[in-house]
Symmetry: C2
Subunit: 380 residues, 2 copies
């Protein structure tokens, strides 16, 4: 059972709590991405210390490696990976469409059938079929507390007809998913598609809402559209979803995106940005973004962010971090990942506090202002 | 000031304490190697949690990157890297000989002059001159508590004449090093050379001992000689060094080597083995070594070592670690490094306890027996 309770609202922004049998999660919430069963370059101990209660893992990756047999023999993902909080897993659909395409001869490699999606994986090139029933069964074995149904992800730039077809197939697949078996501790969310076509988004939302699900995801965004298109698409959906249901904007995003989407009433986010960018040396701070490899930091004794309470900022200088990056030390990726994830967590905590004290718009405006700086210099 | 006090002895094995102004270090001690200012794939927080009080850093690497200016501006290595315990630095000589050789056209790249060693670095190929005075000055700026003098490292297989020449130059360089300025908190050790020639080892030792230094390193080993040759070379030196002086066997070694050398009276060790092998998936356990990538561990729910108290063994299965290695996750390297370092620390703790309870020979025999297993199978 996953239950959402709305706690406070400030303009359209919402503060709430997701209750699961593995613990409560305060919203708005950002989920770090643990693609292959770990958040990259960090241990679960640090994930907990940073304050994260809910994480995302990818069905596609875990299905390929270590494989469902191994996870089944451990009685589920929690015990296999050694994390005792709730896990949300996606359906694998997005990876089928994005990763399989990377292989040569893609055109013949992903076939969207009525039955499901046939694809060759990006590792060995083997042929697989993901059906709505199969991906629910995989996630049942995983023991994911929040489960996502198989959906059709259409590329950005697809015709309205193609998007419409995807929306209709996604609903038919949702109905098949709903008939598949899950455990009582698990909750199946719906995924609303429709690309950047507002009428299709509304149609997809209304059809999903008829199924009265415990939560709704907004999918198919952050795939190349402008920030404005992304936010407008999220907005038309948020307007329709009843207040008491959590809204999850999949794969979003940069701090600015997250902050703006919270302002539209989104409750849940996931994105590889903080961890992936950390590994390239791009660090988020209270005064904008900086690339720690920059030579201006060679002797900089200050922490990455003087307002940050993370292990990295409390103990190390920009100069040391720059040195570790230039020396390609794994420790660089560890320290940067800790910092960026803490930045996201504090952003969410700040947003929540502002919502509760009914001052979200002020918080949003001030934070967006600061995020426009890069290496301390305003970027227009 | 670095002071050594002998606390107990069991056969030839010794338990003592190295006292520095940055804390006390119990011996026998294994120093993790922080080549470029960090132990690879681990944070200082974990290094402390694992119980390490003394670490090694490499002068050659830090001199090249971030460079002496940066470290000077931080007032030394401790503040730059964010570690508050004593640091031992080598002289850079070993890296000059080993790393510079990797470059094409090596023959003309390292010139051993009376003045010092002229070399081209392995990064940019720039020309540098390390003199005895210069490397002492570098380490003075680093603030290393234990300082190593420049020495001549002769390749394994060199003629007796070459080795003899290296021994004599090493002594002349030691005398120049002794005239260079250090801070009162720092101690300069002597390095005894002589390859695998026992008479040269004795000659080098006796000349070094005349200088009455606070500690003696046994250098030029672990470069290709057999374990027997290595141990015999260490033994002839240990016999000559007065009881009250610490003995440091540089670059050694594997657990078996360390254990046998402790039995000859060696007090200090450093080696990249635990950290480097961790990153390849080779893990040390109380029941021998295992390669965690092995398919036999695919569903193995047991910890790497059921007798180990490290974070990795307390929280994760062999199957999960294998999965992380196969997925090339940085987290794999973190968890494996934590475990292997903890293994070495417990080995040293066990040796010390055995020495204090005067049962070192029993401990050594039993431990060597267990170390002969691989993946739980005895290897002859």
């Amino acid at each position: 059972m996953v239950k959402f309770e709305l706690y406070a609202q400030s303009s359209l922004a919402r503060a709430g709590v997701l209750k699961t049998d593995l613990g409560e999660v305060l919203t708005p919430v950002f989920m770090p991405v643990g693609t292959q069963g770990t958040i990259k370059a960090i241990t679960w101990r640090d994930i907990k210390e940073l304050g994260f209660k809910l994480v995302l893992a990818n069905t596609y990756h875990l299905y390929l490696r270590p494989g469902i047999d191994v996870i089944k023999s451990f009685g589920g993902l929690n015990r296999f990976v050694g994390f005792d909080g709730p896990i949300l897993t996606d359906s694998g659909g997005f990876q089928v469409f994005s990763l399989s395409r990377r292989r040569r001869g893609f055109e013949s490699r992903v076939r969207v059938l009525e039955e499901g999606v046939e694809f060759r994986d990006h590792l060995a090139g083997d042929l697989h079929l993901f059906t709505p029933e199969r991906v629910i069964e995989l996630q049942r074995v995983f023991g994911s507390r929040i489960v996502m149904p198989l959906d059709v992800c259409v590329e950005y730039g697809a015709s309205k007809e193609e998007v419409k077809e995807g929306v209709m197939k996604t609903i038919r697949w949702l109905d098949r998913s709903l008939r598949a078996k899950l455990e009582p501790t698990q909750a199946l969310f719906g995924i609303i598609q429709g690309g950047v076509f507002k009428d299709l988004r509304r149609e997809s939302a209304l059809m999903s809402l008829e199924r009265d699900l415990p939560g709704y995801a907004i999918g198919g965004l952050s795939v190349g559209e402008s920030q404005e298109e992304m936010l407008e698409s999220a907005f038309v959906v948020c307007e329709l979803i009843p207040k008491e249901k959590p809204r999850y904007l999949m794969g979003v995003g940069m701090p600015e995106d997250v902050l703006k989407a919270i302002g539209l009433g989104v409750d849940m986010f996931d994105c590889v940005a903080p961890t992936r960018m950390a590994r390239t040396g791009t660090l988020f701070t209270s005064f904008g973004r900086l690339n720690i490899r920059n030579a201006i930091f060679a002797k900089d004794e200050r922490p990455v962010d003087s307002l940050c309470d993370c292990y990295t900022c409390q103990n190390f200088s920009r100069a040391y971090l720059r040195h570790l990056f230039n020396s390609e030390e794994i420790t660089a990726y560890i320290l940067a990942t800790i910092h960026n994830l803490r930045f996201y967590k504090r952003l969410m905590d700040g947003a929540r506090e502002a919502i509760i004290s009914n001052s979200f718009e002020k918080f949003q405006a001030e934070t967006l202002q600061k995020l426009q700086y890069k290496e301390g210099i305003f970027i227009s």
